[in-house]
Symmetry: C2
Subunit: 373 residues, 2 copies
Amino acid sequence: MSQPSRSIDRFYSVIPAGGVGSRLWPLSRADAPKFLHDLTGSGQTLLKDTWDRLVPLSGPERIMVVTGRAHRAAVEVQLPELTDNNVVLESEPKDSSAAIGLAAAILAKREPDVIIGSFAADHVITDTRRFRAAVVEAAAAADAGYIATIGITPTEPAVGFGYIRCGGPITIPRAPSAVLVETFVEKPDLETAQHYVADGDYLWNGGMFIARADVLLAQLGESDPALLAGLLELADAWDTPQRGAVVDKVWPGLAKIAIDYTVAEPAALAGRLVVIPGDFDWDDVGDFASIGKLHSRGRKSDLAILGENARVLSDSSSGVVIAQSGRLISLIGVTDIVVVDTPDALLVTTTANAQRVKAVVDALKLSGRYDVL
Amino acid sequence: MSQPSRSIDRFYSVIPAGGVGSRLWPLSRADAPKFLHDLTGSGQTLLKDTWDRLVPLSGPERIMVVTGRAHRAAVEVQLPELTDNNVVLESEPKDSSAAIGLAAAILAKREPDVIIGSFAADHVITDTRRFRAAVVEAAAAADAGYIATIGITPTEPAVGFGYIRCGGPITIPRAPSAVLVETFVEKPDLETAQHYVADGDYLWNGGMFIARADVLLAQLGESDPALLAGLLELADAWDTPQRGAVVDKVWPGLAKIAIDYTVAEPAALAGRLVVIPGDFDWDDVGDFASIGKLHSRGRKSDLAILGENARVLSDSSSGVVIAQSGRLISLIGVTDIVVVDTPDALLVTTTANAQRVKAVVDALKLSGRYDVL
């Protein structure tokens, strides 16, 4: 293969492709998670969109995907350029510290001064030019020894996202927009979100982390030395015949914890985390309401219809219909409606209740209804 | 067969089993009309419920069913006691004047002084004792030469039913409740309906007609002599080998008109129509809202769920779910919702919009979508 151009030296993209997307049930399932769906009408899956967005940054041969064993085949179909040595399979889900930490450890062993950027497989960004510019700055901050994240300039007081509170300015070569992160805050209520947006010092937490792999691992090790030790043991064996045996021994014991708690928050406290404000569109497509919003492009009066050959008769002017069963769907006099029609399960709710869909998934788990999960 | 007891001399029940029930789409279809469904949770179809209600009045051997050729087999499965000479098949639908008029003509030819009572195949009445008492009075009025109907005492200002305005009292032997009908009024708006109920002189039009067959035919002949002539020609040939040929010749040319216009309204104008007020529960199950009401038995806070082995997860406290596809149905935060889930079509609306379902059927007809009609 010829070496494609890439914009950042020593850069490696990491795509953790893990979460099912419970709030998108019954579209997202254990065997068809969110990242394997086309939720934007782009004609391809969110995973492939993510890949395409990262290729110009790192080249296709420097994108690593961390995913569950069950999804290997589907991921490889989506990403034909993905090479075997760039696939990390989790034998069981261990949350983002283990997923991103293992990728960092493997890549650091292969290439000690590598800079990695971790980007969720199921987020939506269409302004790739500005996205790329932000990553270039973040990589410069990483090169200077910081852990960098990209925060998105809020366009509305969203209650479905976490926020980053910016601290003081900091001077980093080739990263003129960087500011220190003061703290991370969880999804706020509407009133708090309105304060955040009015304040101007808050950005949406896009969950992107860019750092030298060794810096990220050192930070993780300060928070959880046992987890770091496990990851390093896995990385030592990874490119050897011992990989399988060491995975079987080490993986089950790894702590199940989000990287926010092991890396991002401690680094912010220690003054080692900077944020590059990203002035581009971004959405984590967290629920059906956000799918509706993505499709209506801001207009409030559109009914979004997803699904190949969807057959929908509707007088409804707002909401989302996802048609996967081939049936004729008829809506009369319902507004802000969410209808998700799959061959074995049907969901009817409203955009205002979209966040509550996870409760159905929880109820189905409790009652052992794994056939529809 | 032994002769079962019956309460009224010379009485013959007629069940016109015709209408599809467009407002109940996609449950009701051309090949599965409303009367072939169990909409009450009784465990049997509306047609069978109707049959069971009439057997004590006329005996099973004196119940005639008028239905479309396409429904013959389904009707015979539902009504194993129905005899061949009591089945009248319409080669194409011609509305109620032709359906009831032909039954009257056939029966009058077989038995000149017969009294017939016509009762829709798809209405719901559970208080059979009071229903029977009203029919007995109506038959007495018929015996005295009147055309009789049964009007239901309104329990609420319904806008989905037609009304009967009662006129002056009249003395008829064995029909002490009978009053003259002043006029029929179409489905009113809510304000008008409230006036009707407050006024006390209005009854719901239950669409039941009881009369001597010859009296009914004479009234019909005054309104439409050509229609009467056609019906008499059919009746003359009915019990002969010429039936098929005469049907082929005469049926296509019969006027397509409701019996309200050919018999009921002209008889009211002429002072020949009496009404027996019926103090029993009655519903024409005209739309999904009324199905919900029937199931919740007046309580406003119940979600009605119909369908064998329905699997519904819901936090919704009102509305109707009809589950026919076997799929898991999940409702979150939707009230007064109507979800009708069939193998090839899905309807989502609200009880307030239930009357508008017919518009979907009309749209489907216009676009030639007969596969789902």
